[in-house]
Amino acid sequence: MGYPHQPHAKETVVLSQYFGDPEARTYQGWVKRGGYAALRTALARKPAEIVEIVKESGLRGRGGAGFPTGLKWSFMPKEKSKPHYLCCNADESEPGTFKDREIMRWTPHGLIEACAIAQYAIQAEVTYIYIRGEFTEPLAIMQRALDEAYREGVLGANAMGTGKRLDMYLHRGAGAYICGEETALMNSIEGRRGNPRIRPPFPAAVGVFGMPTTINNVETLAAVPHILNRGAAWYKSLCLSNPKSTGTKLFSVCGHVRRPGNYEVTMGFPLKDLLYDLCGGMRGGRTLKACIPGGSSVPILNREETESCLLDYEGCATQGTMLGSGGVIVFDDSADMVYQIMRLARFYAHESCAQCTQCREGTAWVTKILQRILAGDGHQKDLDLLLDLSEQMTGKTICVLSDSCAAPVVSGIRKFRQEFEAYLTGARRPAGAGVAV
């Protein structure tokens, strides 16, 4: 369901079934809707069995990287010699993405149930749900739901009456995009600056507080109870294109579409249908110019590529981009691509943790050069300079923030070069609010 819209016939509603239903936020309401049944069955099984089911379902990480979830869980030590931790990544800050926010706002108990199952599967005592500081409403809703879950005996020393200990805490971020990176998130929980860590060691060996840790995105975890309730085979059957991408995915569509919002579709759904059918096409009868299908960190698609792109991990790769977090940013023909790409670069310059030189200097200089071009002071060589800079920023740093800044810049110059050149030759002068004249 594309909250705040009515569900569309082409949607496959699993995670978003109760979006917009306030009763589902309460413990009683959630139990009435079949909630906590999956946790009960999970606690009656062996942890390794749950990992196997998730592996079998083909569920992959929904935060951006698309790593197989079951496999990630299986990296945790089997023989437990130290405390294990689960971190739920609710630091949703990728421009264009607003799906986890809706999951937490409408189905907080669904997320608690999912975390509890995952926590049991990886044999962790404690889950930290890391929510970005700006999400004041989801924070309040999640806190209320957690208090309820403790009161009802779902969590605590005797979880669901099984004698097992499951503890879960919220940890509020304080405004840093980079804390959505898994190792930076762990540092932030430990009370440090949110600088990403060098890997190896990987979190499954040395994670938060130096203990084995698994970090999963909100949407990834939210799918787990459904997989346990309806079976791995059912989840695997939700696939329209490549069998390596299974299940449903929430796409947050924003920008110049008539009906922005969250839409849940089966993996392999055509991007064209998402934009023209579900979202009602472009605003004011304009035409599509460009689209970023997976949040601001992935390469931009032009109109032809957008219309032939299939929304799964492989379909996006075929078009030279990535599924990422599923934040679809749509630009119509009024958008000034140079200005908007500068705005993206400025985002990364602001959010760089400044640990690696390539990122700290690169993001700032890309922004400055783009601002110079926009002001009409650009040089003919600036485009080559930007491409060279972007190459130096790719694959050379601890995390991928600097690569993420380079992706829209490189793809933008390649696909919309004439717009950059119009500024360089003086054919176009800066207009207001990123709108082309």
Binding site: I189, R193, F209, H256
Partner: protein, 211 residues
């Protein structure tokens, strides 16, 4: 007296050029400290013209709240972000003296605490207006007219520029990078309130609720 350097890239180039440099100082008063702020280019100088004795935050109920938070983590350091939030909730901002107190309570050094405070953008290192307004202007919202919302907010609050507090001490307006509600452009935050779908036309109506 200490200096606060505003973010290097705090405004877009066009806004910057149109704005020019404002060097006129202005003053305002909080409960027991008087501040004199002058905006010179990108630097704001804050002078504490009256040194009040420091009143600790972590006493009584706040201390008990912190003790409950400490139980959640295996180390004291991990309670640093929550402790800083408590300081900001109580005092409105995090002063150097407050950082020293947090450091003592959590057995860290003041320099370490300052390093963490300066990393996270939501912690205020100087006093802000009664209503702290953050407007998302990253690409998706920018496409939907977020910069017009910023202009309208600056105009109607009387703030002279982004990051500066209005002369009546009521408002501070800043741009923020992605608030994570891109489909409901333009989202703004006023203090702890999260508002969606704000347009330039709605700004006067919104401000009426925050006097």
């Amino acid at each position: 007296m200490f200096d606060v350097r505003c973010p290097m890239l705090d405004t877009s180039l066009r806004d910057h050029r149109a704005r020019g440099v404002d060097t006129e100082p202005f003053e305002y008063r909080t409960s027991n400290i008087e501040y004199r702020i002058s905006n010179i280019g990108h630097r704001a100088t804050i002078m504490n013209t009256h040194t009040a004795p420091y009143d600790p935050v972590f006493t009584g109920e706040t201390r008990q709240r912190l003790d409950r938070v400490l139980e959640r983590y295996p180390t004291k350091r991990a309670a640093l972000l929550p402790a800083l939030w408590m300081v900001q909730e109580t005092r409105g901002w995090i002063s150097d003296a407050a950082m020293t107190e947090v450091a003592e309570v959590l057995e860290l050094t003041p320099a370490y605490v300052k390093g963490v405070v300066t990393f996270y953008t939501m912690y205020h290192q100087h006093p802000v207006g009664k209503h702290f307004i953050q407007v998302c202007t990253t690409t998706p919202c920018n496409l939907c007219g977020a910069e017009e919302v910023v202009r309208a907010l600056l105009k109607h609050t009387g703030c002279r520029e982004l990051g500066a507090t209005s002369p009546d001490g009521k408002y501070t307006v800043t741009e923020v990078e992605c608030l994570g509600a891109c489909g409901f452009a333009t989202p703004i935050m006023v203090g702890e309130d999260f508002l969606e779908g704000v347009t330039a036309e709605k700004v006067p109506e919104v401000l009426k609720r925050y006097q």
